[in-house]
């Protein structure tokens, strides 16, 4: 035997040894993925003998989740590109911990360029897996908390920008929808009738416009209990809220979460989010909705308070009528619109006769109740779009659009008659009537509110001076 031949035999043995005991696993598999050859290293790693491996599908050795990834994502890429590089998979092993592996695959084509077989190289990736797992875990955790902070910051900005109840409700729905990938989100606020679907939300939701508080529905239950209610699937819905399941399925929805709008004082309603796919709601999502609902409830209360303050600033506390400030802005507006439309308008000014005696003899409380009663009587005889203001102590003004001299005359007749009626609980000798002055504006330009008020006031004085309980009308 020549030296060369000896060396070559040694080299062949060495090659076989290298294949079998290389520091990585080698596999040959059919295009269908069936193992036809495996080296000893892979056998050792997999926990099977090489004989047991032959005839098995490579993917069947993987942990199920990894198998899912390999079959749906890796195989298509492999079959299209002809190779796969550095894919992290998990090898499931009998009676041993699973082994993270890094895999390279080449497709070997036949003479007609169809896959003949596939060669797989497998590397032990435990060390890399640990290191990367930590990196990835840290990164995902950072991303999650960053996303949460972002949601609450956005909520602060968009809820704070709401100037009306509807505006805040719309902002809250939008933020809940986008933060939770909900198919739709709606805010329902409570009033005497029940929980009301807010008017600005498009009704893709299977909620009726009003849900009575005692209804067998998750919206009502969350409100009654002041707790978040989750319905995770249609079967869950059928079990707990059977009457709703069909409508929910027809609306192509499967799951819902209802969070009460609680602030420190009370429950203002609920926010409902609906999902097109069943799910289990993770605790952090439930927490997020509770946080957003709390922010929303506080914003709603703030807006209501602002509206209330605004109302108080423009209305008389005792009678609830407009005050001077609101009257003067509305008066200016009415004059402008009368001038541009050419329609007549009238200003009715009235001062009570006999009110001072009631105040003096029966006290201020009785006087106040008379003022409240008078306000109510005026309300009952004027058109709804007329503005009634309490001008001062016992002086009232009615601003009437689209009202000419004849209309004004009839109107003041009705007001005078209403006020003249006896007052319940007040002695008969203490009667109250009204001295009325009306200023009518028809066709003249350049009038201003003060002039008009002054003219009506002057007309009222003439009624007072000529015997009280009567009306004087002048053209202003």
């Amino acid at each position: 035997m020549s030296a060369c031949a000896t060396a070559c035999v040694v080299a062949d043995d060495d090659l076989i040894e290298l294949y079998e005991r290389a520091p990585c696993g080698y596999l040959s598999v059919t295009p269908d993925g069936v193992i036809i050859r495996a080296n000893l290293t892979f056998g050792r790693w997999s926990g099977y003998t090489v004989g047991e491996l032959l005839g098995r599908r490579f993917s069947s050795l993987l942990a199920l989740g990894s198998q899912l990834f390999y079959e749906t994502r890796c195989l298509p890429v492999l079959l299209l590109a002809g190779e796969l590089r550095e894919v992290l998979l998990v090898l499931e092993r009998p009676a041993q911990d699973a082994l993270p592996i890094l895999v390279n695959v080449d497709v070997v084509p036949d003479e007609r360029a169809r896959p003949r077989l596939m060669r797989i190289a497998v590397f032990d990736a435990s060390a890399r897996q640990d290191y990367e797992g930590e990196l990835l875990g840290a990164r995902l955790a950072a991303e999650r908390s960053e996303a949460q902070v972002r949601v609450h910051q956005q909520a602060t900005v968009s809820l704070g920008a709401g100037r009306t109840v509807a505006g805040v409700a719309a902002a809250l729905s939008a933020i809940v929808r986008s933060a939770s990938d909900a198919a739709s989100a709606t805010v329902m606020l409570v009033n005497d009738a029940g929980l009301l679907l807010d008017a600005v939300t498009p009704v893709s939701a299977p909620s009726p416009e009003v849900v009575p508080i005692d209804a067998q529905r998750p919206e009502a239950e969350a409100f009654r209990r002041g707790e978040t209610i989750t319905v995770s699937s249609l079967s869950d819905m059928e079990r707990r809220y059977p009457a709703m399941a069909d409508a929910v399925h027809r609306a192509r929805l499967e799951a819902m979460m209802v969070t009460p709008l609680l602030d420190d004082e009370s429950c203002l309603g609920v926010v409902v989010s609906l999902y097109g796919r069943r799910r289990t709601f993770p605790p952090e999502q439930i927490e997020m909705h509770i946080g957003l609902a709390r922010q929303g409830a506080q914003a709603l209360r703030l807006v209501r308070l602002q509206l209330q303050l605004r109302h108080m600033a423009l209305h008389d506390q005792l009678t609830g009528l407009a005050n001077r400030e609101l009257l003067s802005s509305q008066l200016a507006e009415s004059i402008r619109s009368a001038e541009s439309s050419g329609r007549p308008m009238s200003l009715v000014f009235l001062d009570l006769d006999g009110f001072k005696s009631i105040n003096d003899q029966l006290g201020h409380a009785a006087g106040d109740s008379v003022l409240v009663e008078v306000a109510q009587r005026i309300r009952s005889v004027v058109r709804e779009d007329n503005l009634i203001a309490r001008f001062g102590g016992d002086e009232f003004v009615v601003l009437c659009h689209d009202c000419d001299r004849r209309d004004a005359e009839q109107l003041s007749g009705r007001i005078g008659a209403a006020i003249r009626q006896p007052l319940a609980g007040i002695r008969d000798d203490l009667r109250v009537t009204a001295s009325i002055g009306v200023a009518c504006l028809a066709g003249r330009r350049g009038a201003n509110g003060d002039d008009l008020l002054h003219a009506a006031d002057g007309a009222m004085y003439r009624s007072k001076a000529t015997g009280t309980d009567r009306t004087t009308i002048i053209d202003a």
Binding site: G33, L64, R73, E132, R277
Partner: protein, 271 residues
């Protein structure tokens, strides 16, 4: 302006056509993990039809900016896109061929607008991947979690964090993203969401509502959609037929295109 408005769905879903424009329309839909490239070995066999292919939003050449997480949080969002494509191209009597989750998307589209579809062909469908009481979907929640971390490790982890470092080009992460995959391109974050939607959805209730004649095609050894699941789909759809291929695995459109084409063609010639 009008012409671009008319092509909204086509641009969004990267619609491509081959074959004869006035032929019978076949709409091919891919599943999770790839793109319309999945059909490249099958579609040439149908060039006597009007073959329409598209990418789901998030995959292949679709418009990634159209990805609205709330819309695509259920398969309904994808089914709406299918119907928009059908409307925009004014397709009638469509034979819809959907692979994997593309099959269930077709079920939802066809139950919503049955008049548009003449045939539903479901390749490796599964209405529910998770085991549920007596129902065997093949997987448990832990397996799906494992799949999601596989995606994270292989795409979010490797290509976005490590890729740029290894490329020596941390300021241009898109370079490495292109490198990782030249086929079945997908955005990693979208792929993760699509995986969750695909494997956690439950569309068993939708099957009995299918009125379109349906062919269920099943591989003989498919770990993703086992025969019992294919049989369930067949039982739940009244007007349906089940064909089991000799091919194994989950992707006969790539691994056994000739066998799949033959079954498909014989069905279309009969209907």
């Amino acid at each position: 302006m009008l012409s671009t408005d008319r092509n909204t769905a086509q641009r969004r879903n990267n619609v491509n056509e081959i074959g004869v424009p006035n032929g019978r329309p076949i709409l091919f839909a891919h599943g999770f993990g790839c793109s319309q490239e999945m059909w490249r070995h099958v579609t040439p066999d149908f060039d006597d039809h009007r073959v329409v292919m598209f990418d789901h939003v998030g995959a292949g050449g679709s418009d990634l900016s159209a990805y609205d997480r709330a819309k695509y949080d259920s398969l309904h969002g994808y089914a709406d896109d299918v119907l928009e494509i059908v409307n925009e191209l004014d397709l009638r009597d469509v034979a819809y061929v959907g692979h994997s989750v593309g099959a269930m998307i077709g079920v939802l589209a066809a139950t919503r607008a049955p008049s548009r579809f003449s045939d539903l062909v479901l390749v490796g469908p599964s209405p529910r991947y998770l085991n549920d009481g007596g129902y065997v979907g093949g997987f448990d929640q832990a397996d799906i979690d494992r799949l999601l971390s596989s995606l994270d490790e292989n795409y979010l982890g490797w290509s976005s964090v490590m890729g740029p470092v290894i490329m020596g080009n941390p300021h241009r992460p898109e370079l490495s993203a292109e490198l990782t995959e030249s086929f079945c391109r997908t955005d990693p974050a979208i792929a993760r969401h699509f995986a969750a939607v695909t494997f956690l959805s439950d569309n068993r209730r939708d099957l009995p509502h299918v009125v379109t004649p349906t062919l269920v095609i099943q591989c003989s050894d498919d770990a993703i959609a086992p025969l019992s699941v294919g049989t369930f789909v067949h039982q739940q759809i009244t007007d349906s037929e089940l064909v089991v291929l000799n091919a194994t695995g989950h992707c006969p459109n790539l691994s056994a295109p000739a066998e799949l084409s033959a079954v498909l063609r014989s069905r279309l010639e009969r209907s």
